[in-house]
C-alpha cells in the first residue's frame, strides 16, 4: 500500500529466526514476547491515513418491530460521512455461516438485544458515537420469545422467524434437530434389562468466549472497485464467501488479510463488523476502521449455547451400561450461526466415550429472542459432557462402585462403535487415560498450621482463616471430534516456496490459516524444517491470495493446514530431488534433505541445496483433504460422520468453604492422547488453556440473560478466571499415532474444555454432598441447595 498504514508488520518477524527445531521440538512462538511487552499489533491497533471510524446503532430490545428509522439528525453532525441502513446494502441483505438467515442490518424487525440497525462513519469515534445517538428509531416492542416452552409453542407466543422465511430445515421455532437410535433404542423392554436406572436434568449457562481483543478491522476501498479488509477472524475465506454477495462484489475483489487476533475460541467464526466496515468504505470511498468496545463485543459475537438436558442411564448390577436416553435442548438464539453443527455434535457425542448397547438421543437447537449462540471451543460436546459425566457419578453411587472404575468398565476402545455406527479406527485409550490421571500423585492436604491465604477459597478477601473448608476430588473423561463433520470437506491449502536468499536455502510458507494464538505459525515452520531440511523459514502473512485454510476451530488446524504444509513441502522436496536427478543423474532411492543438503542415506551428501537451486525457486501449492464423512441420518443418527476423535481425562481437587459457598480449585490434572505432539510446549499450553476455560464454565462464567436482555456485558460482571483462580495443571501426554492423520497427530485444543468442567463439579459435589445440576456453580447454589442424592 502506498499510503502510511499500521497493520502489524512486526507480528511474524521473530519466526524468521533460524532454528533447528522440526516437529517434536518446542521452538517459542513468534508472538509471545511481543504480546507480553505490548508490542504485538492487534487488529484494533491498525491505522490508515485518512481513515474514518465506523459504529453501529444496536437495538435495546430483544424483539420489536421497527416502525421507522430517521437518520436525518445524525447526518447533520459535522464530521459524519455516512449513515446507512439495510436500504443502502447493494447486494444480498442476508448472510450466515451455514444458513443465510441473518440480515446484515435489521430489516423491519429486531430479533435480539444488540442487533445492529444502522451504521455511521465519522472522522472520529466520538463523533460517530454522538451521531449514533441521534438516529431515531421508532419501535413496536413485542414480548420476547425466550423460554423453551415459549419457543415450542409458536401458536401462542409467535415465531422468531416467520415460517415462510425459513432457510433451515427447521420448523416451529426449531432451527435444527438431530435424532439418533442405536441397538434396540430405549424402550420399556430395554429398560427392564437394567438393574439400576439413574436419571437427571442438567443445565448449562451461556458461556462467552471472552477473548481480550475486541472485534475490529480496517476496510480499505481499492481502485479496482474492490475492498481490502484487514481483519481478526478465524477463517478468511468463509468471511469472504459471506461478504461478497452482500457487497455485490465478485469474491476476487474482496481481499482479506489477517490482522493481529486477540483470541477467538469460536467467537470469530461468524462475521461481526466485517460487512459493516466494508459497506461504509464502499459508500464513503475512504478507509473505515471499526473497533468494538468491551460491552459492544458482548453483543457483537455469538456465545456458547445454553443447554437443558435430560439423561437416563441404565446398567446391570455389575456396572455394565445397558442403555442411555437423552434429550438435549440448545438455545440457539435469534440466528442460526453454527447451531446445526452444534446439534450434530451434541447428538453424536452426547453419550460420551462409552460403549452403550442401546441408545436414544434427541437434540434440538431453538430459535429464540435470546442472544445468538454458535461456535465456542468444544461446542455441543461441552454441554453434553456435563450431563453424561454427572450421570456416571450418579450411577457409580447408585451401584456402590468407584466412579473411575465404572467409567473404565464401559470405556470405549479402538474397534468399538460410536452410537452413530461409526467404528473407532484409531487408538481410543479412554480407560488408560483414566488410570493415568488417577495414578498421578494427589496434592498435599490444606496446611492449616501455616495458612497461605492464596490457597484458601476467598481468603484473599479474608473470608476464612481455615473455617468451613472441605476438600473434594472428582474425575471425568470426555470425547470430542476433530475437524468439520457430516460430509463437510473443510480442506486446507498451503503454498511452500524454496529458494536461496543471502546464500542460504529459505522456505516460505503461505497459507490463509488464522493464527488466533494457537501457535499454528510455529508448527508450520517446524513442519517445513522437518520436511525440507532447512533452518530458515518465513511465514507469509495469511490472506486470500492463497486458497482456503478452513477455520481455526474444531481442533483442526494442525491436522488440516499443518497437513497441507506437509503435502506442499513434500512436493517441493520431490521437485528438488527430481531436479537433482535430472542434473546429476542420481539413481539412489534413499535421497532426503538434511541440514541444507541433498543427502543419500547410503552414499552421504550429494549436493547443497544452494548449489542445486541456484537462482531458481520451487513454489508449489497443495490442498489437504481429510477422509470423507457423511451426514448423519436425520432419524437414526447413523453415519460415518466424524473425521477423528480425541479424548482427555481430568482429575480436579477443590477446596470449598461450605458455609460461604466459595470454591478454590486446588489442582486440575489432565491426561490426553495427542497422537503426536508436534510442539510439546504448545500442546501443554493448549491443554492448560482448555482446562482453564472449562474451570470458568464450572464456577463463574455466564452471560446472564433476563427476558432476552444481557445483564452483564462487561468484565466487571462477566468473570473469567484470574491467575489466582487457576490452579497448577499437571499434564501428561500420550502419543498414540492415528494412522489416518498427518504425523499421526490428533487435534488438541478442545478435548480438555469438554472434559475438565465435569471433574470440577464432581469435586465440589464430593466436598459438599450437593446435587449441583447446573453450571456455572455459584456460591448461592452451595449454600441454599439441599444435599442431593448421590
Amino acid at each position: 500500500m502506498s499510503t502510511r498504514t499500521i497493520q502489524g508488520q512486526k507480528n511474524l518477524q521473530n519466526i524468521n529466526q533460524a532454528s533447528k527445531d522440526g516437529i517434536g521440538g518446542s521452538p517459542l512462538r513468534p508472538d509471545g514476547n511481543l504480546k507480553v511487552k505490548g508490542e504485538f499489533a492487534y487488529s484494533s491497533d491498525m491505522w490508515h491515513e485518512d481513515m474514518l471510524w465506523g459504529m453501529a446503532l444496536r437495538s435495546p430490545h430483544p424483539r420489536a418491530n421497527i416502525l421507522s428509522v430517521d437518520i436525518s439528525e445524525a447526518l447533520k453532525v459535522p464530521g459524519v460521512y455516512a449513515v446507512l441502513t439495510h436500504e443502502d446494502i447493494p447486494g444480498s441483505k442476508y448472510y450466515g455461516l451455514e444458513i443465510q438467515d441473518q440480515p446484515a442490518l435489521a430489516i423491519d424487525k429486531v430479533r435480539y438485544h444488540g442487533e445492529a440497525i444502522a451504521l455511521v462513519a465519522a472522522d472520529h469515534p466520538e463523533t460517530a458515537r454522538r451521531a449514533v445517538k441521534k438516529i431515531k428509531v421508532e419501535y413496536e416492542v413485542l414480548t420476547p420469545i425466550v423460554t423453551e416452552e415459549q419457543c415450542l409453542d409458536p401458536e401462542t407466543h409467535g415465531y422468531v422467524h416467520e415460517p415462510h422465511e425459513y432457510k433451515s430445515h427447521g420448523y416451529g421455532n426449531i432451527c435444527h434437530e438431530q435424532k439418533l437410535v442405536s441397538g434396540l433404542g430405549v424402550t420399556d423392554e430395554v429398560r427392564a434389562l437394567a438393574d439400576v436406572i439413574v436419571s437427571g436434568d442438567y443445565e448449562v449457562g451461556m458461556q462467552d468466549q471472552a477473548f481480550l481483543g475486541p472485534e475490529s478491522g480496517l476496510a480499505v476501498p481499492a481502485e479496482d472497485g474492490g475492498i481490502d479488509l484487514y481483519i481478526a477472524t478465524q477463517w478468511l475465506h468463509v468471511d469472504r464467501q459471506q461478504m461478497a454477495p452482500v457487497l455485490d462484489l465478485p469474491e476476487e475483489k474482496v481481499r482479506l488479510t489477517l490482522a493481529g487476533v486477540g483470541g477467538a475460541f469460536g467467537g470469530r467464526e461468524d462475521l461481526s463488523m466485517q460487512i459493516h466496515a466494508c459497506l461504509l468504505a464502499q459508500h464513503t470511498g475512504k478507509p473505515v476502521k471499526i473497533v468494538y468496545s468491551r460491552d459492544e463485543s458482548f453483543f457483537g459475537h455469538v456465545h456458547r449455547h445454553p443447554a437443558k438436558m435430560h439423561y437416563e442411564h441404565g446398567a446391570t448390577r455389575d456396572g455394565k451400561l445397558v442403555f442411555a436416553d437423552c434429550r438435549i435442548v440448545l438455545d440457539g438464539g435469534a440466528y442460526a450461526s453454527a447451531s446445526p453443527a452444534v446439534v450434530g455434535n451434541a447428538a453424536s457425542l452426547g453419550h460420551g466415550p462409552y460403549v452403550i448397547p442401546n441408545v436414544k438421543m434427541h437434540a434440538i437447537a431453538l430459535y429464540s429472542n435470546n442472544p445468538s449462540c454458535g461456535a465456542m471451543r468444544g461446542f455441543g460436546a461441552v454441554q453434553a459432557a456435563f450431563g453424561y459425566e454427572t450421570q456416571m457419578d450418579r450411577l457409580a453411587a447408585a451401584l456402590g462402585m468407584d466412579p473411575v472404575e465404572l467409567r473404565q468398565l464401559n470405556a470405549m476402545a479402538e474397534g468399538d462403535f460410536m452410537p452413530t455406527g461409526q467404528q473407532i479406527d484409531s487408538p481410543a485409550p479412554v480407560a488408560e487415560l483414566l488410570q493415568r490421571v488417577k495414578d498421578m500423585p494427589l496434592p498435599p492436604p490444606l496446611d492449616t498450621e501455616h495458612l497461605d491465604v492464596r490457597q484458601i477459597p476467598g481468603a484473599l478477601s479474608n473470608t476464612s482463616h481455615g473455617e468451613g473448608i472441605v476438600r473434594g476430588v472428582g474425575y471425568s473423561v470426555g470425547i470430542k471430534n476433530v475437524g468439520f463433520s457430516e460430509g463437510f470437506d473443510d480442506y486446507s491449502t498451503a503454498r511452500v516456496r524454496l529458494e536461496v536468499i543471502g546464500g542460504e536455502p529459505v522456505a516460505m510458507v503461505h497459507t490463509a490459516m488464522a493464527e488466533v494464538g494457537q501457535g499454528g505459525v510455529t508448527v508450520h515452520a517446524q513442519i517445513a524444517r522437518t520436511e525440507l531440511g532447512v533452518e530458515q523459514v518465513t511465514i507469509h502473512p495469511a490472506n486470500t491470495e492463497v486458497g482456503s485454510a478452513g477455520s481455526t476451530s474444531a481442533s483442526r488446524q494442525t491436522y488440516m493446514t499443518g497437513g497441507a504444509v506437509k503435502l506442499a513441502a513434500e512436493a517441493v522436496k520431490r521437485a528438488l530431488i527430481e531436479k537433482g536427478r535430472r542434473r546429476y543423474g542420481w539413481t539412489h532411492h534413499d535421497i532426503t534433505l538434511v541440514g541444507g543438503k541433498v543427502v543419500s542415506e547410503s552414499a552421504g551428501p550429494l549436493v547443497s541445496m544452494v548449489d542445486l537451486l541456484g537462482d531458481e525457486a520451487i513454489d508449489l501449492t497443495r490442498e489437504h483433504h481429510h477422509r470423507p464423512t457423511v451426514p448423519f441420518d436425520k432419524e437414526t443418527g447413523q453415519g460415518f460422520g466424524h473425521v477423528q476423535y480425541t479424548f482427555c481425562a481430568n482429575r480436579a481437587v477443590v477446596d470449598v468453604d461450605v458455609e460461604l459457598g466459595l470454591v478454590k480449585v486446588v489442582e486440575l490434572t489432565a491426561v490426553q492422547d495427542v497422537g503426536k505432539a508436534l510442539n510439546p510446549l504448545s500442546v501443554v499450553g493448549q491443554i492448560q488453556g482448555g482446562c482453564t476455560q472449562a474451570l470458568g464454565l464450572a464456577v463463574m462464567e455466564e452471560i446472564i440473560v433476563r427476558d432476552g436482555k444481557v445483564r452483564n456485558a462487561s468484565f466487571t460482571d462477566y468473570l473469567i478466571p484470574t491467575i489466582l483462580d487457576t490452579p497448577p495443571i499437571p499434564v501428561e501426554i500420550l502419543e498414540l499415532p492415528d494412522p489416518h492423520a498427518p504425523y499421526g497427530l490428533r487435534g488438541v485444543g478442545e478435548a480438555p474444555t469438554v472434559s475438565a468442567t465435569p471433574s470440577i463439579v464432581a469435586a465440589i459435589r464430593n466436598a459438599t454432598g450437593l446435587a449441583l445440576n447446573r453450571i456455572p456453580v455459584r456460591p448461592e447454589h452451595l449454600t441454599t441447595e439441599r444435599p442431593g442424592e448421590l
Binding site: 458515537r129 460491552d295 476467598g458 459457598g661 466459595l662 484470574t722 489466582l724 455459584r778 449454600t783
Partner: protein
C-alpha cells in the same frame, strides 16, 4: 470538555466553585471506566493529581488524617498498624494496578454500595469524619451521614473531599468480602468489624447489601450490651456460641439486599451472617489473647 488542572487545593476549590458540574478525578479507576462505558459525559474534568497534599497522611497518635488520594497500596504498606480494618479492605480492592491508583477519596466520591472502604470506615467508629471543603469553608461530615443513596453522598456541588479522619485502632479490626472469584472482584457483599475497648463500643459496616453502606446498629447494641453486662471487656472470656450466633443473625437482619447479577438477596444475607460470626470470633480471640497476656 474542559480539563481543569489546579496546582493547589485553593485553586481546586475555586475551580469547583466555578464549575460545580466538573467531575473530580483522582486515581481515575472509576471515572475513566465510566467514561469509557459512556456513563458520564461531564462538561468538565477536575484533575486533582497535581495536589500532592492529597496523597499525604498524618497520625497524631489518636486520629489518622488520611489524604483523599492516598492510594490503597500505601494504606496497606504504611497504615495497617493504626488502620487495620481499612488496610484489610484495601487489600481486597481490585488488582495491584488498581491499588496503586485508587484511593479512599475516590471510593467515597463514587459512594457505590459495593465500595470496599465503606464497611471498614463505618466499623472504625462514629468518630470517622469526611473532611469536605469548598470556597465556603470546611465541613466535617460524620461517616454515618455521608452516604445518602445509591451512589450518592452528602457532598455539595461545590465541595471536594480533602481527607478522612479515622481514629487509630484501639482494638482488633477485621474485614471480609465475598466475591465469585478469588481475586479482582467487586463485592457480592462485605462486612467490616471492629472492637473499641476504650469506649466499650463495637463497630460494624455492611457493604453491597443495601442501597448504601450501612451499620448493623442492633447488632452493635446487642454485642455492646453483652460485653458490658458480662464484664467481658475486662475478662476477655469466651463469648460463647450463642452470642456469636445472635450477632450474626442481627447483622443479617440489618441488611436489605436485592437479587442482581452478582448474587441473590438470600445469599447476601446468609453470607453476611457467616462473615459477622467469623470476624467477631477472630477479633475476640485476638482481644482476649491481648487481655490474657497483659494480665
Amino acid at each position: 470538555m474542559e480539563f481543569l488542572r489546579p496546582a493547589t487545593w485553593d485553586e481546586a476549590l475555586a475551580a469547583k466553585a466555578e464549575y460545580p458540574t466538573a467531575l473530580p478525578i483522582s486515581g481515575g479507576t472509576d471515572v475513566m471506566v465510566e467514561m469509557n462505558f459512556d456513563v458520564h459525559r461531564p462538561s468538565a474534568i477536575l484533575d486533582l493529581n497535581r495536589i500532592t497534599e492529597l496523597t499525604e497522611w498524618t497520625n497524631d497518635g489518636s486520629v489518622v488524617r488520611l489524604g483523599a488520594s492516598v492510594p490503597y497500596a500505601r494504606i496497606i504498606d504504611e497504615l495497617s498498624g493504626p488502620l487495620p480494618g481499612l488496610a484489610l479492605a484495601a487489600h481486597t480492592v481490585g488488582s495491584p494496578q488498581i491499588r496503586n491508583r485508587g484511593g479512599v477519596g475516590g471510593n467515597l466520591g463514587g459512594a457505590s454500595p459495593a465500595g470496599d472502604a465503606h464497611p471498614a470506615l463505618l466499623a472504625a467508629g462514629r468518630d470517622v469524619f469526611v473532611e469536605a471543603a469548598s470556597v465556603r469553608g470546611t465541613r466535617m461530615i460524620p461517616i454515618d451521614e455521608f452516604y445518602v443513596g445509591v451512589k450518592r453522598n452528602s457532598l455539595a456541588a461545590d465541595e471536594l473531599i480533602r481527607a478522612v479522619h479515622i481514629p487509630v485502632a484501639d482494638g482488633p479490626q477485621q474485614f471480609s468480602k465475598i466475591g465469585t472469584r478469588n481475586a479482582m472482584v467487586i463485592a457480592v457483599c462485605a462486612f467490616g468489624f471492629a472492637l473499641h475497648p476504650k469506649n466499650g463500643t463495637v463497630g460494624t459496616g455492611i457493604g453491597s447489601a443495601a442501597p448504601t453502606p450501612r451499620r448493623a446498629v442492633e447488632a452493635e447494641e446487642y454485642l455492646q450490651g453483652v460485653l458490658a453486662e458480662r464484664g467481658l471487656w475486662e475478662s476477655g472470656d469466651l463469648l460463647g456460641a450463642e452470642v456469636i450466633q445472635k450477632f450474626g443473625e442481627l447483622v443479617k437482619a440489618a441488611a436489605s439486599p436485592i437479587d442482581d447479577v452478582r448474587g441473590t438477596a438470600d445469599y447476601r444475607r446468609h453470607s453476611l451472617a457467616v462473615m459477622a460470626r467469623r470476624t467477631l470470633t477472630w477479633c475476640w480471640n485476638d482481644y482476649s489473647k491481648q487481655i490474657r497476656s497483659a494480665a
